[in-house]
């Protein structure tokens, strides 16, 4: 189980520009749960994700991975437990390394490095098998620099990289936002297949209400750094896109009214 306890994140703490990005967020993710996070721009979705991966250290609160307090662990120290797919495929892969070198980096994620060759016939075979399953013909391009591949191909490889070695949680950061609709649909299908096949625990940030319901079995809505909605189980399976949109509008309208009060005293 992965637990966030009373997480508060303040940007520019102690200055006039102080901003509360996450306000007292507590969240427990059970094994096998696929949590999708939705919310408007600036709601704190990415910050929540970065707190989990260790890229942002919370101002207050604790992070637990299976009862280990990892609050003070850096992103690289958490890498053996957290696999991440970035929004931008250029960020998630090393452009001038070859496809197989990128895969090798992921293969040794969080393990001790030594002076043995990074690529061996054995792990080349593993990479080949993994890429073959994608049916994109990428297994023939193992020796090409990954920078020569398209964004969709790179994101597909990013996904494969994420699941090459074991993890406690897979973190997906709007990983289809930079892709065209067809490629995005393909990547989402691939994501669902991999999650199902490996029975993964997932936290996925998305802008698409439909994706949130399709992929996840639990959905959170964040607004102004607070969790305003959290549905799982039967409640989640009954949810429709319209419900979420209505809810989203309600939350935004409520905030709008507050603004109006502020503006027209």
């Amino acid at each position: 189980m992965i637990k966030l306890e009373k997480i508060r994140v303040l940007f520019n703490q102690g200055t006039a520009l102080e901003k509360m990005v996450l306000n007292n967020v507590s969240l427990a993710i059970e094994e096998g749960e696929v949590v999708t996070v939705i919310g408007g721009n600036g709601a704190g979705k990415s910050t929540l994700l970065n707190v989990l991966t260790g890229d942002i250290r919370p101002s207050y609160g604790k992070v637990f991975f299976e009862n280990i307090n990892v609050t003070d662990w850096s992103a690289e120290k958490r890498a053996s437990m957290v696999a991440r797919v970035f929004q931008d495929p250029l960020v998630g892969t090393c452009g001038n390394l070859t496809v197989e070198e990128n895969l090798a980096l992921a293969f040794y994620r969080g393990k001790n490095l030594g002076l043995r060759f990074a690529l061996s016939p054995n792990n080349r075979k593993i990479f080949h098998e993994f890429l073959e399953k994608l049916n994109l013909g990428l297994e023939a391009r193992l020796k090409d620099p990954i920078g020569l591949l398209s964004g969709g191909q790179r994101q597909a490889i990013s996904l494969i990289m994420a699941v090459l070695s074991p993890m406690k949680i897979l973190v997906l950061d709007e990983h289809t936002a930079a892709l065209d609709p067809r490629t995005a649909a393909f990547i989402i299908q691939l994501t669902c297949n991999i999650i199902l096949e490996k029975n993964l625990t997932v936290l996925m940030v998305t802008h698409s209400m439909r994706q949130a319901l399709e992929v996840g079995n639990r959905t959170l809505m964040l607004t102004e750094g607070e969790v305003v909605f959290d549905a799982n189980g039967k409640e989640h399976s009954k949810l429709t896109e319209d419900d979420l949109l209505k809810l989203f509008k309600e939350v935004v309208d409520k905030k709008g009214e507050e603004d109006e009060i502020l503006l027209n005293p």
Binding site: E76, F86, E101, L105, A106, Y108, R109, G110, L115
Partner: protein
């Protein structure tokens, strides 16, 4: 250019190929513009020359010079990753400090290695028919071994982690790579190689001097860029070979410029010539871009 000048250019080219490999590691692999080189090259020379003149074993002295260079590089990288000092500035600070340190090591501005004192070249000078073939043989051997070791390192897990750190540190960290440790390691290795170049230079020339370091980075960069222009490859072993060939070609270019009758250049114009070569090598690709663009525009219209 006569035969002696030709062979001399090869010798110096092989010595500076160490600098080229070091600069390639810092500038290209780690994307870390490391200015320490101007200090670590004379540091290597100073350590080797001083120890040898004290009667220390020349191989051990050379090894100590490498360690000294690694230390200098480590300090620069430490300033940058631990204290977040701008990488360019970290290198300049170390380079400045090394100037004084080199004067301390040599107890003066220079140290001479007497003709009768044994250097790593001595046994090879006797072994071959001429002195110069002996030194070229040993220098080629050292260059090949250094190049091979660097190539091997790049293919290891750690080497791959260093390369990832240089191209995409964010991705590297997400894969659990300790990017700061990789920068410390890479910059140490880079300056170890450059100091080795300095140690070879001192033993080859028979002296070490505080001023021999000025322009080391540019010489290294010149070699790297010339190699890239000539080879244009992505394969690691070829890029390393390109650095070595680039260093030798750079020395040929200098020898040609300085020895050509009629131009009127002298040995003291070395830095001017080097800067000009680097500037030309960096402008040429742009120029090519501009002319091909113009050409395609014209053919379209």
């Amino acid at each position: 250019m006569n035969e002696l000048q030709f062979l001399g250019a090869i010798e110096l080219g092989l010595i500076y190929s160490m600098v080229a490999l070091g600069v390639y590691l810092s500038f290209r692999i780690l994307d870390f513009p490391d200015m320490t080189a101007d200090g670590s090259f004379p540091l290597g020379a100073a350590i080797a020359a001083t120890l040898i003149s004290y009667g220390c074993n020349p191989w051990l002295s050379t090894f100590c010079a490498i360690l000294g260079g690694c230390g200098a590089g480590f300090f620069t990288a430490w300033l940058s990753v631990r204290w977040k000092i701008l990488n360019l500035l970290s290198g300049i600070l170390t380079m400045l400090a090394l100037y004084s340190i080199n004067l301390r090591i040599m107890k003066g501005p220079n140290v001479t290695i007497m003709m009768d004192v044994r250097t790593i070249f001595s046994p090879f000078e006797i072994m071959f028919s001429t002195k110069i073939t002996g030194t070229i043989f040993l220098l080629s051997l050292i260059t090949l071994v250094a190049g091979f070791l660097l190539w091997y390192f790049m293919l290891t897990k750690t080497g791959l982690a260093v390369r990832a750190t240089g191209t995409n540190p964010r991705m590297a960290r997400a894969q659990g790579i300790k990017t700061r440790a990789m920068i410390l390691l890479g910059i140490s290795l880079s300056n170890g190689l450059i100091a080795l170049g300095g140690a070879l230079f001192a033993q080859h020339q028979g002296f070490a001097d505080v001023s021999i370091g000025s322009g080391t980075i540019i010489m290294g960069l010149a070699a790297v860029i010339i190699g890239e222009v000539v080879f244009q490859t992505r394969r690691i072993w070829l890029t390393l070979l390109a650095c070595i060939i680039g260093a030798i070609l750079h020395r040929f270019a200098i020898a040609l410029a300085l020895n050509a009758d009629g131009i009127g250049l002298q040995a003291t114009d070395l830095n001017l010539v080097t800067a000009a070569i680097v500037i030309i090598a960096m402008i040429l690709p742009r120029l090519k871009e501009i002319t091909t663009n113009k050409f395609t525009e014209r053919s379209r219209s």
